[in-house]
């Protein structure tokens, strides 16, 4: 008589855990004590339970065809392009994405999480807006989770973020390639790790070329007002400058305004680089602003791919994956772009 193949339930009973925990343990997803995970894996081995078996596959395959996206991004500035990337990767015919705005409030986050789970989402993507690490969800959900843009502080979680340091270096190397040598950095709000990392990246790139910034990097706000004020202040102090690396496109617009008001020609006298590649602001300015694109859609796509891997039963890769930025060259650095 052929023995009945072991089920996930058998494994769970032997390991003395719930079926959900057993499933997660065998998938390498969710957070649990290593001892627990090991116990489940040993139970599965003892019962010759196959991870690739149809039962587990069925248990893992997305049922509702929906992914929940939780975001605290106030203007949707980052969450919406990421949403687009997620949808494109998942495919329009199969899966749809429900977005919930938590407004940075933990109680709202819990509430939306419950609502999404109650509606049967198969996976969750948690999108920040600051790029700063954030705490993991207070209650580990029973579906795969990927943190996008703001990585989870828990290194066992799966996160996809932009590489702010490399992005800052990209901007610096561009102006160096154009022959600029007196480079200043006008950063954004210093409470954001992204602002500091971008500046660090730029400074590092300058150092690699044997240079220092023409003045210490300054930080303020993510606004045109700040860009304007910072440039006026630098010029008032007599700082010689031939390139301004700005923490955002808004800052860059303000910088451009101030430089033009002070009779500088752009890019002939001073090259200006923004950050974020916010089309409405950067592409339609005059002159149009060279900027660094964070590849938010790419971050979304990667997050969706990681969810798909989790559903397919592949062990999830814990830790933070970085998605590189790219430069979009326009008229503030190269004429005729």
């Amino acid at each position: 008589m052929v023995a009945k193949p072991s089920t996930l339930g058998d494994v769970a009973r032997l390991a003395q855990v719930s079926i959900g925990t057993a499933s997660k343990a065998l998938n390498g997803r969710g957070s649990m004590r290593p001892a627990t995970r090991q116990r489940v894996q040993e139970a599965a081995a003892a019962l010759r339970f196959s991870v690739a078996g149809p039962v587990l596959q069925a248990a893992l395959r997305p049922r509702s065809g929906t992914v929940g996206l939780l975001t605290d991004d106030p203007g949707g500035r980052f969450a919406l392009p990421i949403l687009t990337g997620v949808e494109d990767a998942l495919g329009p015919d199969h899966l749809s994405v429900l977005l919930c705005d938590t407004r940075g409030d933990l109680a709202r986050e819990q509430h939306h999480l419950r609502a999404l789970l109650a509606r049967g989402v198969d996976g969750l993507i948690v999108v920040g807006h600051r790029g700063d690490p954030r705490p993991p969800l207070a209650t580990p959900p029973p579906v795969p989770v990927v943190y996008a843009l703001s990585p989870s502080r828990d290194p066992r979680d799966v996160s996809v973020a932009g590489d702010d340091h490399a992005a800052g270096a990209l901007a610096a190397r561009h102006v160096l390639a154009l022959g600029r040598r007196r480079v200043v950095i006008v950063g954004g709000d210093p409470r954001y790790a992204a602002a500091l990392r971008r500046a660090d990246g730029a400074v590092a790139a300058l150092a690699s070329a044997g240079l220092e910034a023409a003045a210490p990097p300054v930080f303020g706000a993510w606004s045109e007002e700040w860009g304007r004020a910072a440039v006026h202040r630098l010029l008032d102090r007599g700082t010689g400058l031939d390139a301004v690396l700005c923490g955002s496109d808004q800052i860059a617009r303000g910088a451009v305004d101030a430089l033009l008001a002070r009779g500088r020609r752009i890019p002939l006298d001073v090259a200006v680089v923004g950050h974020d590649n916010w089309e409405e602001l950067a592409a339609h300015a005059s002159p149009a602003v060279t900027s660094v694109d964070l590849n938010l859609a790419g971050i979304g796509e990667r997050a969706a791919e990681l969810l798909t891997e989790a559903w397919a039963g592949a062990g999830q890769r814990a830790g933070t994956e970085l998605v590189p930025a790219r430069l979009v060259v326009r008229a503030t650095t190269v004429t005729g772009s």
Partner: protein, 344 residues
């Protein structure tokens, strides 16, 4: 785990009977335009399910939570985000979960998203457009209340809430007149947009009421800074006596400001400039800050969510396009003598 609410709703009845919520409501409220057989079926099902209508529809504050699906064609978020925020804020005592789905202006995709939302058992659907151009109705017989916001539905049986563009144009010009301006011009965007015509019509009406007209015919091209720059250069070249410019959008207005500065015209002392949209990023970043018109999209979102829950409680939420008031937001670009001193 369905929302904790053991009471049978109108939506449940509609779903069982295979009719739209509007039809179910009419059947139960004894309205005439319902087929006899449909009315019988709806009444029988309502009886069988022990449905009790809430005739006062005052359950709004006692309903602690619900879920609304927001189907948007605006993925930039400029319109959608404030509407979503307003919908979420609709209830003082509890929370409304808003599930956002993006349709990207694609009809097939939109239908797919609609199915996804209905399968998620949302209590109602808000359909948001990226402009105020009318759009086709989503579908017949949707078993939950639907409200169209910003872009109205072409179907007069649907309820649509849209910002009053005519009023917007009017109050923009009335403000310029109040600033003492009399030689007023209008630069606007894509003429394929209802918004362009609505705003221009309201502007002209305000001028006519003051016994005036535009200094030159309004010009229409695109909703861009670049167009604002070019159009202003042409305008001020031909009509240097223009003292007030109503730009059809904040982006156009930024272009107007740029050219005005290049031509040595002082804003606001010499030339008043007003935009439209109150798109914070664009309107607050300029120097001076832009006076503009706010479409009050948050209020539209809140109103839409309220209508949805009234609809669920059995009230007749109405139909047709309801124009909602817009408001003026005054910053530094219009009132002469108010600008702070300083470099531009």
């Amino acid at each position: 785990m369905a929302p904790v609410d053991a009471v049978v709703t109108l939506s449940d009845v509609a779903r069982e009977a295979g009719v739209s919520i509007a039809t179910a409501s009419k059947a139960l409220n004894g309205k005439d335009d319902v087929a006899a057989e449909t009315r019988r079926r709806v009444l029988a099902i309502a009886e069988a399910m022990s449905f009790r209508a809430n005739p006062m529809a005052k359950g709004l504050n006692t309903r602690l939570s619900g879920t609304v699906g927001l189907l948007t064609g605006d993925l930039e978020g400029r319109f959608m985000i404030p509407i979503l925020t307003g919908a979420e804020n609709a209830f003082v005592n509890g929370r409304v979960d808003v599930f956002l789905c993006d349709a990207r202006g694609d009809a097939i995709r939109e239908q797919h998203q609609l199915r996804a939302l209905l399968n998620r058992r949302v209590d109602g659907i808000i359909v948001v457009g990226a402009s105020t151009n009318p759009r086709s109705s989503l579908a017949h017989d949707i078993p939950v209340p639907v409200v169209y916001v910003n872009a109205p539905s072409e179907n007069p049986d649907d309820l649509s809430l849209a910002p009053d563009e005519f009023m917007g144009g009017r109050i923009a010009v009335e403000h310029l007149l109040a600033c003492g301006r009399t030689r007023i011009a209008h630069i606007s965007g894509d003429p394929a947009y209802t918004a362009a015509h609505g705003r221009a019509a309201g502007a002209r009406a305000a001028l006519r009421d003051a016994g005036l007209d535009f200094v030159a015919d309004p010009v229409f091209s695109e909703w861009s800074e670049q167009w604002g720059r070019s159009a202003t250069a042409m305008l001020l070249g031909r009509h240097p006596d223009v003292d007030g410019i109503f730009a059809g959008s904040d982006q156009i207005a930024r272009g107007v400001l740029d050219t005005a500065r290049e031509l040595g015209r002082e804003v606001p002392d010499d030339l008043s400039v007003i935009g439209y949209d109150n798109w914070e990023v664009i309107a607050t970043g300029s120097r001076p800050g832009l006076t503009t018109v706010d479409a009050q999209l948050q209020d539209l979102g809140r109103l839409a969510a309220q209508r949805i829950f009234e609809g669920i409680d059995g009230a007749d939420i109405g139909a047709g396009v309801r124009q909602q008031p817009v408001r003026l937001v005054v910053r530094g670009s219009t009132v002469p003598g108010r600008a702070p001193a300083g470099r531009g």
